[in-house]
C-alpha cells in the first residue's frame, strides 16, 4: 500500500462514515427511547432530498436555507409519523408485540410517503445541485469534492450537537431518562406524551438533512430513501441496537471496511467484502459492537 492509498482510504472513510452515521443515528435515538425500529427514516432522507431539489434547483435559493427547511419539514413529518403510527399503540404496549407492530406501521407510513412522492412528483430522478461545488486536492491523486467534505463536516457537527443536547440540556437528559427508566422519568415530571413525538421528530430531522446531501451525491426520487434505510438498519444493528456510541463506531467501521476494500481490490468487490465482514462480526458478537444482552439505552 502506498501513501496515496492510505490517504484515499482515510478520506473515503471520513465521508462514508459521517453520512452513514447521520442517517443511522436517528434510528438509534428512536430505538433507544421507544424500542421501535422506525422504518420511516428512509422516507425522511427522500423528503429531505426533494426539499433540497425544490429549494436549490426549482427555487434557486441558498443551500443553508435548504438544510434548514429540510430539518424543519422532516421534524414536523417525524412528529406526525409518531402521532399517526406509534402513539395510538403506546397504551397497549404491554399487551401487543409492540416492536413488531410498530415496525409494520412505520413501514406503512414509509410506503405512503414514497407513493405520495411518486404521485406528486413522478418517477423521475431529479438532479440536486451540490450544496458547494469544486474540490480540493488532499494529496497527490486524492481529490476531495467540497460537497463531500461539507457533508462530512455537517454530519459530524450534527452528531456532536446531538451528543451535547443529550448530555447537557433539560430535554436531552429527559430523553435519556425515559429510555432508561420510563416510570422513574414520569415521576420526575417528564411529559412522555410530548417527549416521544419530539424524539421522533428530532431523529427524522437528522435524516432529512442527510437527504439534502445525498440528493446532491445521487438524485432525488421517490425511492431515494430505500438504500439509506437499509444502510441505517445495518449500521444500528452492527453497532448494537440502542447504543449511540456504537452507532458512530459502526458507521466509521463500515466506512473503513468499504473504503479499504475499494482501494485494495476494487469497487466491485467492496460490498461483498463489507457484508462478509459484517456477517462474521455479528456471528461472533450477535449484540453488535457495543450492544448489551439487556439492550443499550442511549
Amino acid at each position: 500500500m502506498v501513501a496515496t492509498d492510505i490517504v484515499g482510504i482515510a478520506v473515503t472513510t471520513l465521508i462514508l462514515g459521517s453520512i452513514y452515521g447521520l442517517v443511522a443515528i436517528g434510528m438509534t435515538l428512536i430505538y433507544g427511547t421507544l424500542r421501535i425500529l422506525d422504518m420511516s427514516q428512509g422516507s425522511m432522507v427522500m423528503v429531505g432530498s426533494f426539499i433540497g431539489w425544490g429549494i436549490l434547483v426549482v427555487a434557486g435559493l441558498n443551500p443553508i436555507l435548504a438544510i434548514l427547511a429540510a430539518f424543519a419539514a422532516t421534524f414536523i413529518l417525524g412528529v406526525l409519523t409518531q402521532l399517526a403510527s406509534v402513539q395510538p399503540l403506546m397504551k397497549r404496549r404491554s399487551a401487543i408485540d409492540f416492536e413488531m407492530v410498530t415496525f409494520i406501521t412505520t413501514f406503512a407510513v414509509a410506503m405512503v410517503l414514497t407513493n405520495v412522492a411518486l404521485e406528486l412528483l413522478g418517477p423521475f430522478q431529479r438532479n440536486v445541485t451540490s450544496v458547494v461545488s469544486g474540490s480540493i486536492s488532499v494529496y497527490h491523486g486524492v481529490n476531495l469534492p467540497y460537497q463531500s467534505l461539507t457533508m462530512a463536516l455537517v454530519s459530524i457537527a450534527l452528531m456532536a450537537a446531538l451528543g451535547v443536547f443529550l448530555a447537557r440540556t433539560r430535554w436531552g437528559l429527559a430523553i435519556r431518562a425515559v429510555a432508561q427508566d420510563l416510570d422513574a422519568a414520569r415521576l420526575m415530571g417528564v411529559p412522555v406524551g410530548k417527549l416521544y413525538p419530539l424524539t421522533m421528530g428530532l431523529a427524522s430531522a437528522l435524516a432529512g438533512v442527510a437527504g439534502v446531501f445525498l440528493g446532491g451525491l445521487y438524485f432525488a426520487y421517490p425511492q431515494a430513501g430505500d438504500l439509506p434505510l437499509l444502510e441505517a438498519l445495518i449500521v444500528v444493528i452492527f453497532g448494537g441496537l440502542g447504543s449511540l456510541p456504537g452507532t458512530v463506531y459502526a458507521a466509521y467501521a463500515i466506512g473503513l471496511i468499504q473504503a479499504t476494500a475499494e482501494v485494495i481490490v476494487g469497487t466491485t468487490w467492496s460490498l461483498p467484502i463489507l457484508y462478509t465482514v459484517i456477517l462474521l462480526v455479528l456471528i461472533v458478537r450477535p449484540h453488535g459492537l457495543l450492544g448489551k444482552p439487556s439492550e443499550a439505552r442511549l
Binding site: 433539560r170 429527559a174 435519556r176 431518562a177 416510570d183 414520569r186 415521576l187 420526575m188 415530571g189 443499550a296
Partner: protein, 240 residues
C-alpha cells in the same frame, strides 16, 4: 392553608391487568406528619404508593392532594403538584451519572432554574453523593444508590414525599445514614409516607403507623400505641 389533609385516599382499588391488589383502602395523611405503612411483603404497600403517584391508574376510589382530586391523573402531572415518589428499587437512571440523576430531580421548569444551588445543597448534605458525582449510577453500591435517590427526591420543593422501603437491602451503617436524612426531613416539617416491612427502623420518625394486609389497612394508630400492642407486634410484625 386549606385545612384539608395533605393526602386523602378513599375507597381505593388498584392492581395490575386482572389482579386487584388494593381493595377499598382509606388513608389520611396530615400536613407535617410522617406516616409509615407497615406490613408483610406482597400485600400491596408498593402498589398503593404507585397508585397514589399515578404510575398505575386506580380502578376505583379517589386520591386527593390537599383536597384536589388527582385520581386517574398520569404520574407526570401529579408530580408537578409537588408529590415526590422515591420508588422501590430507587428508580435511578443507570447509564446516567449521579449528577445527571440529580438534575432530573429538578426537571420541572421552576426547579430547573435553581438546579445549581440545589445540587450544591445536596452535595453538602450528602458528601458520599458528592464524591460519586461523575460516576454512572449503575456502578454504585446499594447504600450509595439509596442516598442518590433521596438526594434526587430533594432536588425540588415538595408538598409530600413517598419513600418506598428506605432500608431495603442496605447494610446497617447505610440504613443509619438513610434514616438520619429522613429524620432531618421530618424536623424540617416535611410530610412523608414511608413504606417498611417492619418496625425496626421507624421508631424515631414515625407519627402514625398503618398496617397493610391483603390490600387494605387493617389497623392504624400512633406509633407508640401500635408498637406497644403485643398482639399486633406478634401477629403482623414479628419481633421488635
Amino acid at each position: 392553608m386549606t385545612g384539608e389533609p395533605m393526602l386523602q385516599v378513599a375507597a381505593l382499588r388498584a392492581g395490575y391487568l386482572d389482579t386487584t391488589v388494593i381493595r377499598d383502602l382509606d388513608l389520611l395523611v396530615h400536613t407535617g406528619e410522617v406516616a409509615v405503612l407497615i406490613g408483610p411483603n406482597g400485600h400491596g404497600k408498593t402498589t398503593l404508593l404507585r397508585a397514589i403517584s399515578g404510575i398505575i391508574k386506580p380502578s376505583a376510589g379517589r386520591v386527593l392532594l390537599e383536597g384536589q382530586d388527582v385520581s386517574g391523573w398520569p404520574a407526570e402531572r401529579i408530580s408537578t403538584l409537588g408529590l415526590v415518589h422515591a420508588p422501590q428499587g430507587d428508580g435511578l437512571f443507570g447509564e446516567m451519572t449521579v449528577e445527571e440523576n440529580l438534575l432530573m430531580g429538578a426537571f420541572p421548569s421552576a426547579s430547573w432554574r435553581n438546579r445549581r444551588q440545589e445540587i450544591a445543597r445536596i452535595y453538602e448534605q450528602f458528601p458520599l453523593v458528592a464524591a460519586r458525582a461523575g460516576q454512572r449510577a449503575r456502578t454504585l453500591s446499594g447504600g450509595e444508590r439509596r442516598l442518590v435517590a433521596l438526594g434526587r427526591a430533594l432536588m425540588r420543593p415538595s408538598r409530600i414525599m413517598l419513600i418506598d422501603e428506605p432500608s431495603l437491602g442496605l447494610a446497617p451503617v447505610a440504613i443509619d445514614a438513610v434514616y438520619q436524612a429522613i429524620g432531618n426531613l421530618k424536623r424540617s416539617g416535611a410530610t412523608l409516607v414511608l413504606v417498611e416491612e417492619n418496625f425496626t427502623h421507624v421508631g424515631a420518625v414515625a407519627d402514625a403507623v398503618h398496617i397493610v394486609e391483603m390490600g387494605t389497612i387493617i389497623a392504624s394508630g400512633p406509633y407508640a400505641a401500635l408498637s406497644a400492642d403485643p398482639a399486633i407486634v406478634r401477629t403482623y410484625l414479628g419481633s421488635l
